[in-house]
Amino acid sequence: MTFSSKEISKHICAGSSDARNGVVIIPPPDVKAVETSGESAVSLRLGRWFASIKQTSVTELDVLPSDSEGASETTSSKYHFVPFGHPFVIHPGRFVLGSTLEWIKLPATISGYVAGKSTWGRRGIIIETAAGVHPGFSGCLTLEIANLGEIPVKLRPGMEICQLFLHAVSGEDAASQTKLAGLRRPTLGKVKTDHILKKLSYGATLESSLKKGSGSATSSGASPSEPNTSKK
């Protein structure tokens, strides 16, 4: 069941004195305002770091994880820092990662989901698509921001950008072990190894790597790990 504004403020107050068992939000919101808002969510603000895909050098992102360590983060994305008072202009059709200004920590008994604010949604700004925040998460939330509207929009660090809904987790669960936790900047993260996908793709990747070894190029210009569908 989703927490009411009163429940949320109660958990934030608890987190303020006991970071282990309550909901921690730093810098803290105005708890009184949260309590009296009547909204079953707490608003979060936009941080100053952004990450975008290096469009001039990345030809594609492969959903099949690469074996080379650290390949995804440093080679695929670049960071931008926007000071308070300055805008980050997001043009129509563009996508960028941002992060919440606030550092969030949820106890093992609470999980949440992030949603955009309708104010921005009505202007074409879509905030979050992978919305789940697992119990035990600690860090700044990475926001997937896209402009689906028709005109550029100036985003400003410090603006209220999204809302966090919270609910209780029934039963006991181990705290989140995600690698994306504990960070202050938005991150692409490494694609998790998916053994089933790896096995399903095995024949094509083997063929592709053999081809690579013999020096022949893929006709489609796709990466060596990508299945070569034209041969099927």
């Binding site: 303020s16 970071a19 282990r20 921690v24 730093i26 810098p27 803290p28 100053r48 670049k78 960071y79 931008h80 820092f81 926007v82 000071p83 308070f84 200004l101 550092w103 920590k105 600690s138 860090g139 700044c140 504990g182 960070l183 202050r184």
Partner: protein
């Protein structure tokens, strides 16, 4: 080709670089004014050159070209420094609290330029540029410029600006001169200079060596002041950062204008224990060993005299540091403050109301030490450092958040 054309082409290339940086994504506000000031200076010089050419006076043209070349040589490293300050490897969260801190000691219009250096040499004199008098240049090593563990070293660099801006040399001038004279040993001069005799020229020879020793004593005094200032601002994290960067010694030679690293470590250990009740457990000065210098006998005597004159003088320097810090009314780090931040770090969360940078850097070191003891692998240590640094930098950002919330609009 006419030399004035070459000079103008060089200027044109610099203007293009400056415009390119100004028009790029500059992540903090101090870089553009510094660049515009340099551009103004160079534009005025270009104007002078054009006027000289119009007047057709060869000597004026030559002099204008030489001055332009000199200014370009002086400005290029600064422009490079500013360009590196815009790189996103820097932790820009550090900029605002450091600027706030510097304005507590310097004037309200003083500006920090925080950057990263590829040829980083710890504790060098910061560049002071006559054309940019309100700017303080602070560099950190490029590969670790966002590492909060070494950030306390900025206290040392900031102190150089304070030393110059408050004219602190004058505070110590009389005392140090008298100590240098007192510790100067005429017999040692006789040993190294066979031409020295107790005749009417003796006083000139003595004055020269005393002058040299005094100049070195002032330079050493400034370095000690800067270390003690860093200690006052950051407490034990300053000492730990000092060792992180300098230890083990790489065998560099002692420079005459600097006290030895061992001597500086001794002073830090002594003053931190005496004044702040901090006992440095994990580090010892012998890991900072430097190679023996190869100075002339005369320089060696001047350095020896300067070092003797400064023996026990660090008490006096510390007192001046404390006066300056207390007058600024900044929040000073404390054990309790660091423990409060540390308590949150243990739960993997930043602190919601940090009081000062020193409490944050001390908590980062404490957490790093307690999670990275013997038996911890390199991979674990690296993970620990990343995690602690992220919480630390977010806590630093919270400092700025609260500062901005106090502004009446």
């Amino acid at each position: 080709m006419r030399p004035e054309i070459i000079a103008r082409l060089k200027l044109d290339a610099i203007f293009e670089q400056i415009n390119s940086i100004i028009n790029s994504d500059v992540p903090f506000e101090n870089a553009p004014p510094a660049l515009r000031t340099m551009k103004d200076v160079l534009e005025r010089m270009q104007e002078r050159l054009i006027n000289s050419v119009n007047l057709g006076k060869g000597n004026l043209i030559d002099s204008a070209i030489i001055n332009i070349n000199l200014k370009i040589l002086q400005f290029l490293p600064i422009i490079g420094f500013i360009l590196r300050s815009t790189n996103t490897r820097n932790a820009f969260e550090l900029f605002d609290p450091l600027q706030d801190l510097s304005q507590s000691f310097l004037t309200k219009d003083s500006r920090i330029l925080l950057s990263s250096e590829w040829d980083y040499i710890p504790f060098v004199y910061p560049q002071t540029v006559k054309d940019l008098p309100t700017f303080t240049f602070i560099g950190l090593p490029a590969s670790e410029c966002s590492n909060l563990l070494i950030f306390p070293l900025t206290g040392h660099e900031l102190a150089h600006s304070i030393w110059g801006s408050l004219g602190l040399e004058n505070d110590f001038y009389a005392d140090l001169l008298s100590r240098v004279k007192q510790h100067f040993d005429k017999n040692e001069l006789k040993k190294i200079d066979p031409t020295y005799k107790d005749d009417i020229f003796a006083s000139t020879a003595e004055s020269e060596i005393i002058g040299e020793a005094f100049e070195l004593a002032i330079a050493h005094c400034e370095e000690i002041f800067c270390d003690l200032f860093g200690l006052a601002l950051f407490r034990e994290s300053y000492i730990k950062a000092f060792y992180y960067v300098l230890s083990p010694g790489v065998g560099s030679k002692q420079e005459p204008h600097y006290p030895t690293n061992e001597r500086r470590a001794e002073i830090l250990a002594y003053q931190s224990e005496k004044r702040l009740n901090i006992r440095s457990k994990t580090h010892s000065g012998d890991r900072l060993t430097q190679n023996a210098p190869q100075w002339s006998k005369r320089t060696a005597l001047a350095v020896q005299t300067a070092e003797r004159a400064l023996q026990g003088f660090d008490d006096r320097i510390w007192e001046r540091v404390v006066e300056i810090v207390e007058r600024s009314k900044i929040h000073r780090p404390s054990d309790e403050g660091a423990q409060a931040v540390l308590k949150n770090f243990r739960l993997n969360v930043p602190h919601k109301s940090p009081k000062c940078l020193g409490n944050i850097t001390n908590a980062c070191w404490l957490r790093f030490e307690e999670t990275t003891g013997a038996g911890v692998s390199f991979e674990e240590a690296r993970e620990n450092l990343i995690r602690i640094n992220e919480m630390g930098l977010k806590t630093v950002e919270v400092l700025e958040f609260h500062r901005r919330m106090k502004v009446d609009i």
